[in-house]
């Protein structure tokens, strides 16, 4: 059923060699190792051990007294995208964020300066079945979107439940306007996809040279790929009832890979999530910006973790992405997670949710050398990121930090261009609580 997604030329990206010496190495999967070296060859972790010899021509980084951890992975981001929502229709499975990757967004560098090496660039939450997302590595400096692609990462897609898609339905006078309608739309679309798959299967198995192909639909192709497990679903959701509903729908259609995004009430159905094998990617403490997050608790991540649900903490924000290590630390205040559990929320667990845990998320021999170095323990408020590597290439070094990182500059811009935003205004998908949907102002509905 794949038609196009693999045909694009693979860009050759830079791979680095480096020996990070004598740091406290937080592996996530194999404990925390004092006075340990990490050797990186050709972008991969080659060895982790004590007193490793420096191969010829390999740069050394002295990490004495510093903390070396896997690069942080943000499972929910909207930086580095020129568009976020194709919200004009309730099902837009065919659109993909890979078409709108913006390698020029300074937000990428700012995230690197917070130890982040990979992001899940997500479609917005305006529609029930939104677009496909794109997993990126933050290879800052390239002007080519292709260079940022996390080559080999599984495809993922955004779904959305609750207030956002029903608000769209209400403002346009179409379905869905309730959580009942959302479920119906999901079931209808999957059933359409099954019909579509049957039609194409019949065509393919027809031996006649005079057969005629059914109509092609990239939208249905994507839905079929979801049914066949090739596309991982990441669903914007808040309330426990809607989370539960989607698990039932997926059970009925035999779809297994499911991550709930935001999932502020996931804690209420944590046993059911664990039973299903669904995971959750949540905020550390956001709540009360809309009705469906009023009954929230900052202990959400801890409750989910204690109940055996694979959980990550994400940013959904161009501001918050810069200190996800701090957001993860809040689970120690709210729920007493261990250092390793807390750091897994922003490394290994999001990697699992994105299907890239064979490549990143922990410091292990053979994994990609996506590494962040901190001067203090990364869960400490006094931690400052020092260096960030992607594929062994250093993209951030606090010692060589240049303020103006812009890659393209509009010659007609003013030099002193000041933008005042409060944290609540940043790159949220559609959560701008006080921002009126401007189109609605002009709508006579």
């Amino acid at each position: 059923m794949l038609f196009l997604c693999t045909s694009v030329l693979q860009a050759q990206t830079k791979k680095g060699d480096v020996l990070i010496k004598n740091g406290t190495v937080i592996t996530i999967t194999d404990g925390t190792l004092e006075n340990t070296d990490v050797l990186v060859r050709n972008g991969k972790i080659d060895r982790i051990g004590k007193n490793l010899k420096t191969p010829n021509g390999v740069e050394e980084v002295d990490a004495t007294g510093k903390f070396v951890m896997p690069g942080i992975i943000d499972a929910h981001s909207h930086i580095a995208g020129t568009s976020i929502n194709e919200g004009t229709s309730q099902v837009t499975a065919e659109v993909s964020m890979e078409d709108v990757v913006d390698p020029l967004d300074v937000g990428i560098y700012r995230a690197l300066a917070g130890g982040v090496t990979s992001i899940h660039l997500m479609h917005g939450s305006a529609n029930v079945i939104g677009g496909q997302n794109e997993t990126l590595k933050l290879r800052w400096g390239s002007t080519n979107p292709e260079d940022l692609r996390f080559e080999g990462a599984p495809r993922t897609i955004k779904f959305a439940l609750g207030e956002n898609p029903t608000r769209g339905g209400r403002s346009r006078g179409i379905q869905p306007q309730s959580r009942m309608g959302v479920e119906a739309m999901l079931r209808n679309t999957f059933n359409d996809a099954i019909k579509y798959r049957d039609a194409w299967n019949a065509y393919r198995s027809n031996k006649s040279s005079r057969k005629v192909a059914p109509e092609y639909s990239l939208r249905m192709e994507t839905m079929v790929d979801i049914l066949e497990g090739e596309v991982l679903v990441h669903c914007h959701s808040y309330r426990a009832d809607e989370i539960y509903m989607l698990m039932k729908v997926f059970s009925d259609f035999g779809i297994e890979k499911l991550t709930f995004q935001h999932a502020n009430e996931a804690y209420k159905v944590a046993p059911e999530l664990a039973e299903f094998g669904a995971s959750a990617s949540v905020f550390s403490d956001w709540w009360a910006y809309k009705l469906e997050v009023y009954y929230s608790t900052a202990y959400n991540a801890a409750i989910l973790t204690e109940n055996g649900v694979t959980t990550s903490i994400n940013s959904d924000s161009g501001e918050l992405i810069r200190h996800l290590f701090h957001e993860a630390a809040k689970t120690q205040k709210y729920g007493d997670l261990s250092d390793n559990e807390a750091l897994a929320l922003i490394t290994l667990n999001p990697a699992k949710q994105l299907g890239i845990d064979n490549r990143v998320g922990s410091l292990e021999k053979g994994k990609d050398a996506d590494i962040a170095i901190f001067d203090n323990h990364p869960l400490s408020i006094y931690a400052v990121p020092q260096m960030t590597f992607v594929d062994g290439v250093k993209y951030f070094d606090i010692e060589n930090d240049v303020a103006d990182q812009r890659i393209y500059i509009d010659p007609e811009s003013t030099v002193e261009d000041v933008q005042i935003l409060y944290s609540n205004d940043h790159d949220r998908c559609m959560e701008g609580a006080n921002v009126v949907n401007f189109t609605d102002l002009f709508n006579n509905k």
Partner: protein, 561 residues
């Protein structure tokens, strides 16, 4: 004088019997405007036959629309009107690689009742590849004269529209009484842009990219089906007529290229991405940020028409005590301005043979921009090639245009002084062998551009089609300004059926038009202030909504009543 000529020019088309260009033998012409002959000889001129090929004291003869002789010892036909070319430089007429010249922007399509469907009607979604630009061409479009007087004689004109507006045509920028007479070649391109449908699918780049793939794939299937049926219909379902798919057939067969309007580097890369996936022949038009793209352009065999629009040169602050930070930022901004103006030379040096496209540029600025490009590394010959031979080659018309050789179309420019000298002025432009004469100012003072002076109220009275884009989509409608006993009043209409709104505090001074209006947002009255500049039929403005702390741009074009 200018206005008078324009009036006469218009008058010609009001009188249906004139048609002076094609049929001068048998008709009287009481206006006295028709030429007495269709043979011209320009003598004793410096003739630039092609970039780098220069002949001094030469003569060129044009007969019945074609160049019939170029050389030093040329017989001048007795029927010729002889033009003394002393101090004159003759160039091949310029060719515009992508523009809307001659096309009239159609009214925005009416909002359908079933807007919010996954597949809104094609006319509204902007999926009209079966359309032909010739249906939008108007012989009296101002742009024809505006482009001709700066030396353009052929334009690859593409239609107005949204995602897939239709196919383009090569047109001669000549006078005619019917659009058909302008057409050199039809179906020259399938034109494509990253323009979403207001409030409907595809609303932005995300939807456009996906929809394009979907359309292309179905066109391939449809083509196979039609061919199967054509070979033997027996037992094969009859294909239904599908003009959208059919419009792609020549593209699939590589008989036609897709011209993508891709002004910035990311758009250009997206178009090349589609090309790599689907395999069609791609031409990038209107490219404004190409300095990082040379490798990819070459590896995808993409043809390019670079934009003739340039950013304004940044002005550094004159303050003496400006901070080091400001100095550094000004330097970086200047560095990027340099990238815009020197990319032409860089692409040329990288071996990319490009033409020019005027689609986003103002005709009055074209020459200044060309001179800036030349000052920044592109040689005059290379610039001339981009205007003539390269464009002709890229558009497949080298046999009939692009140089001053015998047998080619009589498209040429006669300039007083070398064209690429700042002070030079165009005296004649010949299109299809017809002479168009322009005033040449004596003395050293040359009027720069032709910006309109302080406008009077008439400049804004009437209806303006506005459009603005919000994160959620595009909105359209009309601003209507009326003047009753010197009281300026205005109304805003909306194409989605929202009731009309009165405009308040309308002010129009020195080309700046501002007004405000209130809208009802869920019981709350929200004030929106619009401030902008009127330039001819275009209004570029910014609207600000204090209550929500944001602003957005509004564009409007005046209805030609």
């Amino acid at each position: 004088m200018k206005i008078l000529r324009k009036t006469l020019f218009r008058l010609l088309f009001i009188l249906p019997l004139i048609g002076f260009t094609s049929n001068i033998k048998a008709q009287s012409d009481p206006t006295g405007e028709s030429p007495a002959t269709r043979t011209y000889a320009i003598t004793n001129a410096t003739i630039v036959q092609a970039p780098g090929k220069l002949m001094e004291e030469g003569t060129i003869v044009i007969t019945d629309g074609l160049i019939t002789a170029v050389g030093k010892n040329v017989n001048i036909p007795v029927t010729a009107e002889v033009i003394d070319g002393t101090d004159m430089f003759v160039y091949p007429g310029f060719i515009d690689g992508m523009s809307n010249t001659g096309a009239e922007r159609p009214a925005n399509p009416e909002r359908p009742d079933n807007l919010f469907t996954p597949d809104p009607p094609n006319y509204y979604a902007g999926i009209t590849p079966e359309n032909q630009v010739v249906d939008q061409i108007k012989v009296d479009e101002n742009s024809i004269e505006a482009m001709r007087k700066v030396g353009f004689t052929i334009s690859h004109t593409v239609p107005y529209g949204r995602m897939l507006p239709g196919s383009g045509a090569l047109i001669l920028l000549r006078d005619a009484d019917h659009p058909d007479k302008l057409i050199l070649t039809e179906g020259s391109s399938l034109y494509s842009q990253f323009s979403g449908a207001p409030g409907a699918y595809p609303g932005n780049t995300l939807g456009i990219m996906a929809k394009f793939r979907n359309l292309y794939k179905n066109a391939e299937l449809s083509k196979n089906h039609s061919e199967l049926y054509a070979s033997n219909p027996e037992g094969v379902a009859r294909p239904t007529r599908d003009r959208v798919s059919e419009a792609f057939y020549p593209v699939i067969e590589k008989r036609q290229s897709i011209f993508y309007n891709a002004s910035n580097s990311l758009e250009a890369r997206r178009a090349m991405r589609l090309q790599k996936e689907l395999g069609f022949n791609l031409v990038l038009g209107n490219l404004q940020e190409g300095w990082d793209l040379a490798d990819e352009i070459k590896s995808t065999n993409t043809k390019v028409f670079m934009s003739l629009e340039l950013p304004k040169e940044p002005k550094s602050s004159k303050e003496e005590d400006k901070s080091d930070e400001v100095k550094r930022l000004e330097e970086r901004r200047m560095e990027f301005y340099k990238k815009y103006i020197s990319q032409y030379a860089e692409l040329q040096n990288a071996g990319i043979k490009f033409g020019f496209s005027s689609i986003d540029a103002r005709s009055s600025q074209l020459k200044d921009n060309l001179l800036t490009i030349i000052e920044n590394g592109l040689s005059e010959d290379q610039a001339l090639a981009a205007l003539t031979t390269n464009s002709a080659e890229l558009l497949g018309i080298s046999k009939i245009a692009g140089t001053l050789d015998e047998g080619k179309i009589g498209n040429l420019i006669v300039s007083k002084g070398p064209y690429f000298e700042k002070k030079s002025q165009i005296k004649y432009v010949f299109v299809d062998g017809e002479k168009h004469e322009y005033d040449v100012k004596d003395g050293s003072k040359v009027k720069e551009g032709d910006e309109t002076p302080v406008a009077d109220l008439d400049a804004i009275l009437g209806a303006w089609n506005y459009e603005f884009t919000t994160p959620q989509g595009t909105q359209t409608g009309k601003f209507i300004f009326t003047n009753e006993s010197d009281i300026l009043s205005g109304t805003m209409t909306s194409s989605d059926g929202t009731p009309d709104t009165d405009l308040q505090n309308i002010s129009f001074l020195n080309g700046e038009l501002s007004f405000d209006f209130s809208i009802d947002a869920g019981g709350q009255s929200v004030d929106i202030v619009v401030v902008g500049v009127v330039d001819g039929n275009n209004y570029e403005a910014e609207a600000s909504v204090a209550a929500f702390n944001f602003t957005f741009p509004i564009q409007a074009t005046k209805d030609e009543a």
